[in-house]
Amino acid sequence: MDTAHEPPAVAPERRVADPGPPGGRRRRRPSGEAPPLPYELGRSGKFWLFMVAYFMSLLLGVVFFPSLEDLFSRWDAQRTEWLARLRTPSLTNIALVVNGLAATWTIRVLRWGTIAVLIGFRRWRHLFVFLGAILVTEGVVVYLSLFLARERPFDIPILAPWQGYALPSRPMAGLAVTLVGIAYSLVVPGIARAWMKWAIGVILVVLVFVRVYLGVEHPTDAGFGAIFGVAVALTAFRWLTPNHVFPVTYRRGKAAHLDVGGRRGEAIVSAIREQLDLEVLQTKPIGLAGSGGSTPLRLRVAATDEEPERYMFAKLYAQSHVRADRWYKLGRTLAYGALEDETRFTSVRRFVEYEDYALRLLQDLGLPSPRAYGVVEITPEREYMIVMEFFDGAVEISEAEIDESVIDQGLQLIRKLWDEGLAHRDIKPANLMVRGSELKLIDVFFVQVRPSPWRQAVDLANMMVVLALRSDAETVYRRALNWFTEDEIAEGFAAARGVAIPTQLYSEMKRDGRDLLTQFRELAPARTPVAIQRWSIRRVLLTAVVAVAFLLSVLLVVNNWAVFA
């Protein structure tokens, strides 16, 4: 077969960058220009980075270059001796009292108190991170001190109790990890936590001086211990319990999301102006209680030549949301097996790209979902925002009066999804809005192309239950027969069990009091329930790995019980 192509008769038109209309604000960020919200280490971040670099270079230098060790030891000894020369009986008494802050019993009381409070408030994730940070700190410090084998200071009498080698200081590391753990697991972020961080800093600095004064440790021993403890706790809590995903709050509901004020708020406004050519007049967080996976916002946008002033809906995604999604999916895979695609997202960019794709796909197919306005880059690879249509004046279906027209729209919506080979996977009252007599479908992040038949059947059953909550099972069933066969409906209610029913829908059913699932099952032909548990080699292996990790953690706690008890 001849695959040669004739050269085009007409030369292709050369693309010329569109300068845009005069005064247009949409612009491409030139190479080298900072993004709307550049990722920058804060002052504290720079400080910790510097300290870690300092101690790492010190450790490597001491291990590999004996002459450097001598130099470093002399410097450390001189500082220790200098402080010890300030000794007076009264100052020593004060120092001994202050040194009690780093005593084993002080640290134990702080740790057990924190553990008790975390258990009391059922803040399990913070509890595990707290325990893990302590174990890691204590383990590394013990082994590192044995490896480095640095004696206590010479030349001066030691005035306070000590245990083991000096570098890094175990009491300083233990106190630091405990105090920072308390700040991040018990103290509500804001002014209180900021003050506590400063207080921790002051306490640790004072203790470094006190322990050097008492001759228990050199400045490097105490300093390294404190910095290591702080670094482990900070990393663990910021990484594993970011506040906008796992908030520390003493009120009901999910209160905290990404802060959209300050520099981030300004960055959002300028990014939307430059990237979508929209002038944001107001940014308001909404629906926080029902959203753990992103930070939802309502934007008030200025009028343009084509459209009046209006609202838009936006969702802000950060890396922590990707991590939370991974844990969520791991949990589902362990609990139920490969019910459906539980593959994790690898980046925030993939997150927003997928949601943008799902929005545009549903729009293309004519489904009543929000129109996508695009993705906005806030901080490259770290924070993105997806902007979409806001159904102004719409109310959640659970608060709306619905008639047979709305019921039909809901059922047709599922039929359309089925016909197009799609599943929404999160049909619940919060995702179905009614404006006038129109039904709207929102939150399309979980939309799946070519899902399992089970998943599609679940969508139908959930939609029927949602509609029946505002009417009755008989009406919904009768209307459903216009678009679905009896067997299809029976399949839906055979599949809609346990995990398949969203939490919000389950709560609404309980509050309603009618046993709608049973009513639908009685109306539909009898059908054997569809098994939810799926077993695969992946699930078995994952379960085994998690079980082993859990056992190791328990053994670690038991073997290091002395750390707590």
């Binding site: 030891s73 002399r74 000894a77 001796e81 010890a84 020369r85 000794r87 082994y143 044995l146 490896f147 084998a149 004696e151 206590r152 010479f154 030349d155 001066i156 009498p157 030691i158 005035l159 306070a160 109790p161 000590w162 245990q163 083991g164 080698y165």
Partner: protein
């Protein structure tokens, strides 16, 4: 997969670190090694003029670990026949030897008095106390059941001995140019 590749590396680092811990040189009387625990023990009990240590390690015996804190220093010896922590050596400032029988000092160290508690055999268990100026060393024998216990006890007794603190003071002075405060040392730079 890239993350999984870190695991063997982490294992190697951990193994390397572990390999450097608990080496026999830590409790050898001579030569005083880079990784000796004797200096830290001397800091723990600064009044003690003698430090318990091993003259050598008989075949099958090895150093099993230490726990040194202010006021007390302990280390353990293990044997392929007498078991893990077959002997615990503890150094403190003082110890209670009232009611114990004094025994001849087979080691011959000057100014050391030896006391023994009644023994038990099969398994072999014994406590021996050595008192000297500024300190007391206790050897606790806790063998797993073995017919070889007499030979093993004899081997250990021959290897366990004392190092004058002055030797450690001189070592620190020579190697670190610093003073190991306490017994047998010149006055420290800063008094308490």
């Amino acid at each position: 997969m890239r993350r999984l590749a870190i695991l063997p590396l982490a294992g190697f680092v951990l193994a390397a670190c572990t390999a450097t811990l608990n080496s026999d040189e830590e409790v050898l009387c001579s030569p005083i090694g880079e990784r000796t625990v004797l200096i830290l023990a001397a800091q723990a009990v600064p009044s003690a003029t003698l430090m318990p240590c091993m003259s050598d390690f008989p075949a099958g015996w090895s150093f099993a670990g230490s726990d040194i804190r202010s006021g007390r220093a302990r280390f353990w010896l293990e044997s392929d026949r007498a078991g893990v922590r077959a002997i615990e050596v503890e150094l403190t400032r003082t110890c209670d030897v009232s009611g114990l029988d004094e025994a001849p000092n087979a080691g011959g160290e000057l100014d050391v008095r030896v006391y023994v508690e009644p023994l038990t055999f099969q398994p072999y268990a014994a406590n021996r106390y050595f008192t000297f100026t500024g300190g007391c060393a206790i050897y606790r024998y806790r063998f797993t059941p073995t017919d070889e216990w007499p030979n093993l006890a004899l081997e250990a007794n021959d290897a366990l001995t004392f190092l004058p603190r002055s030797t450690l003071v001189a070592h620190v002075e020579a190697e670190r140019d610093q003073t190991l405060c306490g017994a047998s040392a010149p006055p420290c730079v800063v008094g308490d």
